[in-house]
Symmetry: C2
C-alpha cells in the first residue's frame, strides 16, 4: 500500500490550527482541534514515564470509555510538573472545547507539548478555542499539524487509502517531536484518524501492533518524555460494514504504515539532525535481542557523532552492540554501510572504509549488523548528533 | 583519610612511560610499564562488553593465578576487533616484557587503549619495551600515567598512606579515559598499586567494593568500552604482617578513596566537559532504585546539554528520573542545585531559578533529587555535553 507524506481529508472529522498566543512568538500556531461530527471510537497509548503531564493523565482516563468527540492539542507548554493547577488547567481547557462542541467534557481529550513546568494562559486558550472552532475544516490536518510543532522545523503528515467491504477507507495522521525522542515513545504527539467503522477493540489492537515498529523504533536522543501520546480515532463515516479478518489485517497494516511514515519524518527532523540512519540488526536469535542491540547502537553518542562526522567507525558500532548484554561472537559478525561490507571475521575491512565514508555523505544511509546466529531482526531509525543538537538544547529552555 | 591527586612511590614497584611511536604523534608517550621486584598479588575487573579486546581477554586469563610480575600498557591502539592477529600481538607484546624482566610470560598482563580495529607495530613496541625497561624508576607513576592517555588532557594520579600493623602502607594509582565512559566501567584503564602484604582474596574484595562507587558511578557519554580494565597489585614490600579485620576495612576504604579520586578526575577531564556535576538521588526505597535514577539523569543528553547551557531545567531532570521505570510520586519529590531548592510539591520554584542558574556557572556543582520515600541514596559523577564533545568525536576517529 502506498503511504504519502501528505494530508488527506477523513470523513467525519474536521480540524483546525490557530495562533492563540501560547508560544512566545504570537505569530506561530499553537492550538489545534480535532472534532468528530459524532462521538468517534478512540484508542490511545501514552508515555510510561513516572512523571506524567496532567493532560496525559486526563486523556488516559477519558479514553477508557473508548469514545471521543474532540482532541484539543496545544504546543508552547507541556502542562507537566504543574501540580494541581495543571490538572485544573487541563480540565478547564477541555471544558472550553466541550462548550463549543456541545458535548460532555468527558468526550474531549487534551494533549500538550512544550516547556515543562509552565502553565499556559487559560483566557488566551479559550479565545483560541473559539477561533479554532469556527475555522474547523475537513481539510484542516495540515493546519493542525503546524499547531502542534515545537522545535520541529516542518509539519509531519501521512495518509493512505485502503478498501474495506468494497468501500474506500482513509487513514491519515500527524505527529510532532524533534527532541526527547526515544524508545519507548518520544516527546511526541501523534494523532491518526480514520473513517473506518470499527470497534474500539480493533483500534486498540491496531495501535498496539503499530507502535513497536514505528514510534517505539526511533530515537533522537534517548530521552523519554512526560507527554508522549499516540491516539487513533475512527469516525465510522466510511460505512464499510463488518470487516473480514483479512480486511482487519489490511487496516492494521495501513495504520502501521502511516505510523511508520510519521515516525520516520520525526527522525528526519530530529534536533540538529544532518543524517537519517536506519540501524538494522539481523541474524539474531530473537527479535528482542535484535531490538536491544539496535537500540544501543542507535542511542550511542559516540556512534551518533561518528555519523555526523561521516566516519564508518566499526569500533564504536561494535562496542555499542557489545554493551547491551546480548551474547554474540564478535568473530562471526558482519557489518555493512548500505551495500558496503566494512567488517567480517572479527576484523575491519579497511579497504572498504573509503567507499563507506562516501556512502555516509548522503542524507540517508543504513547500517546493518548481522550477528549470524539466527533469523530474527529489528530496525531502529536514528539520526546523528551534531553541533546543532547541542546548540538547540543548551541555548534555549525547551 | 587524605587522598591526594599526586603520585607517590610504592615500594616493590618500578614504573616508566616512553614514546614508542604507537601514536600518530611520535613525541607523545604511548607505552607504560609497571614491574614488580618479585611476583605481586594481583586482582582485576574487566569490561562486560561482548566485544572484548585481545589484551582484556589475555589479562583476564592471566589474573586467574592471582599473581603478576608486570603490566604492559599502551595507548594509540586498543588492539580490539583485530581477530587472531590481535591475540598474537598481545601475546608477543607480553613476551617482549617477560624477556626483559626474566620472568614467565604468564606473569605479564597486557592492557591497550586507543583506536579500535588497528594493530600497533610490534617492532616499535619491542624497542619501546627495551627503552621503558631501562627507564624504570620507583617514582615513575607520573610517566606511566602520561603514557596511557588518549583523548585525556591531563594525567590522572591519586595516592594515600594508611597504617597496617603499625607500618605505613601506600596506595597509589592512575587511570585514563575521557570518552566512552559509562557504567559499567569506561574506556578506562586504571591501575592501583600498594605495598601492602595481603592475600589476593583481600585485593579482589577491595576492588569489588571500590568499583561500584567509583569507576561504575561515572559517566561521560553512556558508551561502554571494549577495553575497560581495573587492576590492583600488591607487592607486600610494606611487610605489615597479618592485618586485623579493622585494618582490612581501612585498606578497603583507602582503595575506594583512591579509586574515587581517579574516577572523579576522569569525569573532570571528560571529552569537551566544561562542568563537573555530582548527581545525587536520595530518599529512595533501595540504593539500586537510587542508582537507576541517578544514572538515567547523569546520562541524559538533554540534561547534559542543559548543564552546558547553565539551565536549571527541572523538566528535563524530572523527565529523565521518571523514565527509568522506578516508581515515585512526582508531587512529593524535591530537587536542588547545590543549596538551592528548585522544585517541590510537584511544582517548579521559579523564584529560585536565577540563583540556581548562577550556581551552575561554577566549574562544579551538585544536583540533588530527594524522592521522599526512603533513606537509600546513590551518587553519580557526570559532566556536561558541549560542542567540543561533538567536535572531538565527529572530527577524529578515536
Amino acid at each position: 500500500m502506498e503511504v504519502r507524506a501528505e494530508p488527506r481529508a477523513v470523513s467525519g472529522f474536521r480540524l483546525a490550527g490557530v495562533a492563540a498566543g501560547l508560544k512566545n512568538d504570537p505569530n506561530r500556531k499553537d492550538l489545534g482541534l480535532i472534532v468528530a461530527d459524532a462521538p468517534a471510537a478512540a484508542a490511545g497509548i501514552f508515555t510510561t514515564n513516572q512523571v506524567k503531564a496532567a493532560p496525559v493523565i486526563l486523556a488516559q482516563q477519558r479514553l477508557r470509555s473508548g469514545r471521543l468527540r474532540a482532541v484539543a492539542a496545544n504546543s508552547g507548554s507541556a502542562n507537566c510538573f504543574t501540580g494541581k493547577a495543571g490538572m485544573k488547567l487541563a480540565l478547564d481547557s477541555c471544558a472550553a472545547v466541550a462548550a463549543e462542541a456541545g458535548c460532555a467534557p468527558e468526550l474531549v481529550a487534551p494533549s500538550s507539548t512544550g516547556v515543562i513546568g509552565h502553565l499556559y494562559d487559560l483566557e488566551k486558550y479559550r479565545a483560541g478555542v473559539r477561533e479554532a472552532y469556527s475555522a474547523l475544516a475537513a481539510g484542516g490536518l495540515g493546519e493542525f499539524a503546524t499547531a502542534i510543532m515545537t522545535t520541529d522545523t516542518t509539519p509531519k503528515v501521512a495518509s493512505t487509502v485502503i478498501r474495506i467491504g468494497g468501500r474506500p477507507v482513509t487513514i491519515a495522521g500527524t505527529a510532532k517531536g524533534a527532541g526527547m525522542i526515544a524508545p519507548n515513545m518520544a516527546t511526541m504527539l501523534a494523532f491518526i484518524l480514520t473513517d473506518a467503522a470499527l470497534p474500539v477493540v480493533a483500534l486498540r489492537r491496531a495501535l498496539a501492533k503499530a507502535a513497536p515498529l514505528s514510534f517505539n523504533a526511533i530515537t533522537v536522543d534517548g530521552d523519554m518524555s512526560t507527554n508522549d501520546t499516540l491516539m487513533l480515532l475512527a469516525s465510522g463515516a466510511a460505512f464499510n460494514g463488518k470487516p473480514s479478518g483479512r480486511e482487519i489485517g489490511i487496516f492494521e497494516e495501513a495504520v502501521g504504515a502511516v505510523a511508520h511514515s510519521l515516525a520516520r519524518q520525526l527522525v528526519y527532523d530530529g534536533e540538529g539532525a544532518t543524517k537519517f540512519v536506519n540501524v538494522e540488526v539481523r541474524g539474531a536469535r530473537t527479535s528482542s535481542d535484535a531490538a536491544r542491540i539496535a537500540r544501543q547502537i542507535a542511542n550511542s553518542p559516540l556512534v551518533k557523532t561518528a555519523f555526523f562526522g561521516r566516519d564508518p567507525n566499526v569500533g564504536r558500532i561494535t562496542a555499542a552492540a557489545g554493551a547491551c548484554g546480548v551474547r554474540f561472537d564478535p568473530d562471526r559478525i558482519e557489518l555493512w554501510v548500505d551495500k558496503i561490507r566494512i567488517a567480517a571475521r572479527g576484523m575491519i575491512l579497511t579497504g572498504a572504509l573509503p567507499a563507506a565514508g562516501q556512502a555516509m555523505r548522503q542524507r540517508e544511509f543504513s547500517v546493518r549488523l548481522d550477528l549470524k546466529q539466527g533469523s530474527a531482526r529489528f530496525s531502529m531509525m536514528t539520526c546523528d548528533l551534531s553541533y546543532d543538537y547541542v546548540k538547540i538544547n543548551a541555548e534555549y529552555t525547551t
